[in-house]
Symmetry: C2
Subunit: 208 residues, 2 copies
DNA sequence: CCGACACTTGGACGGTTGTCCAAGACATAC
DNA sequence: GTATGTCTTGGACAACCGTCCAAGTGTCGG
């Protein structure tokens, strides 16, 4: 995970043939699936290849190193998540701006993320944050992700007419971040859907 | 990290001699240092032994398995943190209950945790939470830690006369959790001491 | 002083890992 | 058809891992 700036070609010289691009994508997909199911350190050349149904040497051929593989998988997850954030932000513009709507929107968003299918991205994000604490190089992957989240949050708060949008956004993002972590760490049990909405309503009301 | 309930004796039969207890403690201390510096997966028998200045076989002698070593190291960190929480809570009782005091108290607490020395515990906590999302067995270590945090937070909010102490505590804990993560993940840069206090003041005021 | 038992430790074990190589399969340009 | 390159892959390699063992050292009750 040494965070190489550019996605790179197969190990050998010359420009890549479009033929191999498919396999490369399959391997990345397999890696993402593994991260979701068993975490970052379940990623090994052989495990990823097996998950993709390909021979063991294929991961070595398509990625210069394991670091590059992991790095690119994380980057892919981040990219998808940023796209989702942009979607949400666009949808926000067409909605009513009342508190109830925003609360509901936030709640379903959180629920999607902590659901088994959405969890990959969430866990990847936390992995990256922890990693960033120790190895600043990992931060580059998080940057787009962070600004995407910031923009969405600030837009929502502005629409609600919050007092201090900047401070409010920090609070809201942090709270949601901590809330999600709490939820997945304890198996959802501490908070049902209604309570989640109460929490969000109380939180948002305090920022107006 | 299979989470064994009881701290156990050396690998061999019979009750342990007090002579070896020291070495065991040294090994745990070395493991904690390594977790702080390089993360959970930097823990290997050989690395821990080397960090403690002991021969490689010593870790195998004093811990039934690597899981037991890691598990016990995490438990030790958690125990210390719980003690700190209790201290803080006791100190809270003797303080004035105004908002400014609580804000200052929270701010310095957070600053202590994100400082290089306090960071071990913080990172360990996040590691455990992520781990708990995937392996419920890891939750047992977090339990005391969580109730300690809950109690401290609820006590502070009650002293401030918050409207809904239960909901407020969830919000406050989550926000602090997310805030700390944000701070260590991006190298403190996004928020200086004054801003941190503004954020906390705004957050708390919203809960009253 | 001596037996018993915990401690200590160098070295070995089987397994897994990341990475690489050599040889063949395949595709395309001429 | 043939040359030139990529793609594909089984197998090898050294390094590292967790764990264990056997032989030696230390200590202490009797």
């Amino acid at each position: 995970m040494t965070v190489q700036p550019e996605a790179s070609a197969p190990r050998r010289r010359g420009r890549p043939h479009p033929r191999g691009a498919r396999r490369r994508a399959d391997l990345l997909e397999a890696a993402i699936r593994l991260i979701g199911r068993h975490g970052l350190d379940a990623i090994t050349h052989r495990a990823v290849a097996a998950e993709a149904g390909l021979p063991a040497a294929s991961t070595s051929y398509y990625f210069r190193s394991k670091d590059e593989l992991v790095d690119e998988a994380l980057r892919t997850i981040a990219g998808r998540e940023v796209a989702l954030l942009r979607e949400r932000r666009a949808a926000l513009g067409e909605q009513a701006a009342d508190l109830a709507t925003i609360v509901e929107s936030l709640a379903t968003w959180i629920e999607e993320q902590i659901a088994p299918e959405g969890r990959v991205a969430l866990l990847a994000q936390y992995h990256l944050q922890i990693e960033s604490a120790r190895r600043p190089a990992a931060r580059t992957i998080l940057e787009d992700w962070k600004t995407g989240t910031d923009q969405l949050t600030e837009a929502a708060l502005a629409q609600l007419g919050a007092r201090d949008v900047r401070t409010g956004a920090i609070i809201l993002i942090s709270a949601i971040d901590g809330l999600r972590l709490r939820l997945i760490a304890s198996g959802h049990e501490p908070l049902d859907g209604a309570e989640l909405r109460t929490v969000l309503r109380t939180l948002l009301r305090g920022l107006l």
